[in-house]
């Protein structure tokens, strides 16, 4: 499995979960022995990691992102998650 294929149809890896922390008003991505605090766009991306293609994700997010380039944001963010081992390829 290559890095590229991981982000083609990204899904969260086993044991990785999105969570809204109501007390801290925080988007969180939980994984064994750690968590990432996500911003709004990160949270939106993570919640679309359900096996759809990255292009479909970008299309979905175009309505949400008003400034910047959603395609770049999505690719960069997914690459960071993949680097941390938090994604799997949705095809498998």
């Amino acid at each position: 499995m290559t890095r590229e294929s991981q982000t083609e149809r990204p899904r969260l890896a086993p044991g990785v979960r999105y969570r809204w922390d109501a007390m801290r008003e925080q988007h969180q991505l939980l994984f064994p022995e750690g968590l990432l605090v996500l911003n709004e766009s990160g949270a939106a991306i993570v919640q679309l990691c359900d096996g759809r293609t990255t292009d479909q994700m970008i299309h979905e997010l175009e309505d949400l992102v008003t400034d910047g380039n959603p395609a770049d944001d999505v690719h960069q963010f997914l690459a960071r998650l993949a680097e941390k081992g938090l994604l799997r390829d949705g095809n498998s």
Binding site: T2, G15, R17, R19, M23, P32, E33, L35, G85
Partner: protein, 361 residues
């Protein structure tokens, strides 16, 4: 400064364990704390933890699978929106229990191994366990759990580092945690027999770095360096009473699991109040919170909010002063005590004292 809520709860369900590792993090005088909280009480603690802001629970021990209510507690923790991580020896982690834990909502598993070689691993564990652990890893993989293999490093197994990495790859775990012994409790008692040499540590760092590069994307390797051979102390707990909270088998509430062995501390229990009251108000949790308690050289140090003065337990165990700068710091006036321990261990060949106390059988 406002006190933040903690993120992580270490739930030590029992000190009972079928293994006898000579570096166990449980108290040396375990028999003094033989009582265990009942299921109902643990559920209350888990609910209180969630209200306090805890996000992740590490179910640990001893061997947490010796509690037959583990599934029940995991299910309860999940119903409280907590991330559930099991820290186990792997002994007792058979297909049936793991299947039940999956159903209960367990998120991830860490399984310990003592060495890459069966004979050595069984010797260090004080029991035949290598093959059982191998089966446990396989069973956990079949259930789809993310698996961390944890190996504690010391003089007796550091030579097998390459084999350990190869074994983690063969066993197809997601993460390999190679953690040097932290010298408190049983490990402090066995310090002279466990400390590696500086050369061994340097060599092992090179091996891990090389493996990290060649296995990138295949196996994540976490390497916890031995603080005795570092210039600066560990950011122990990321600060006292800041991120972590421990509840021990008998209901003691602690900033860390080692703190109960420090004489003279008034330790609150879950009967004394809610976790929230204890976290925000109990004097034990306030004692080393922030930076006001710090002596020099910590007080004026640029790193005071990076390493928080290091480990309080280590300060006490090595210098006798709970408020001292962690003696592993090269700026500590007591650093010579660490250097002496390292040189003594190079000449002394001592027998290991294996953990004894409540066992599982």
């Amino acid at each position: 400064m406002e006190t933040p809520s903690p993120y992580s709860l270490l739930a030590e369900l029992t000190y009972r364990c079928p293994l006898q590792c000579p570096y166990c993090s449980n108290p040396v005088e375990m028999s003094r704390y033989a009582g265990e909280l009942e299921t109902r009480c643990w559920k209350r603690v888990l609910s209180e933890a969630s209200s306090l802001g805890i996000v992740q629970v590490h179910f640990s021990g001893g061997e947490p699978l010796l509690r037959d209510d583990l599934e029940d507690l995991v299910a309860h923790a999940r119903s409280e929106d907590l991330y559930c991580h099991l820290i186990t020896s792997g002994v007792k982690a058979d297909e049936k229990r793991l299947g039940q834990l999956k159903e209960a909502g367990l998120d991830a598993i860490q399984i310990s191994l003592q060495d890459s070689r069966q004979e050595e691993s069984d010797w260090l564990a004080g029991a035949r366990s290598f093959e059982i652990k191998q089966s446990a890893v396989q069973a956990a993989r079949e259930q789809g759990f993310p698996i961390t293999l944890n190996i504690v490093l010391h003089r007796h197994n550091l030579g097998q580092l390459e084999e350990m990495i190869e074994l983690a790859r063969q066993w197809k775990v997601d993460k390999l945690e190679l953690a040097h012994v932290q010298y408190a409790g049983w490990a402090l008692r066995n310090r002279a027999a466990l400390l590696p040499t500086a050369e061994m540590v340097t060599r092992s760092t090179t091996i891990v770095e090389r493996a990290r590069q060649s296995l990138a994307g295949q196996l994540e390797i976490v390497h916890v360096l031995p603080d005795y051979f570092q210039q600066f102390p560990k950011a122990c707990l990321h600060g006292w009473g800041r991120v972590f909270l421990t509840v021990s088998p008998d209901g003691s509430v602690l900033p860390c699991q080692t703190a109960r062995e420090i004489p003279g501390l008034q330790i609150p229990t879950v009967e004394d109040g809610s976790l929230e009251e204890i976290w925000f108000q109990d004097p034990l949790f306030q004692r080393f919170r922030g930076t006001d308690w710090m002596p020099e050289p910590c007080r004026s140090c640029d790193r005071r909010e990076i390493d928080f003065g290091g480990c309080r337990c280590q300060a006490f165990l090595v210098t006798g002063d709970l408020s001292a700068t962690d003696p592993v710091c090269h700026l500590s006036p007591k650093r010579f005590l660490i250097d002496e321990a390292i040189s003594e261990s190079e000449t002394a060949e001592r027998e290991l004292v294996f953990r004894s106390g409540p066992d599982g059988f």
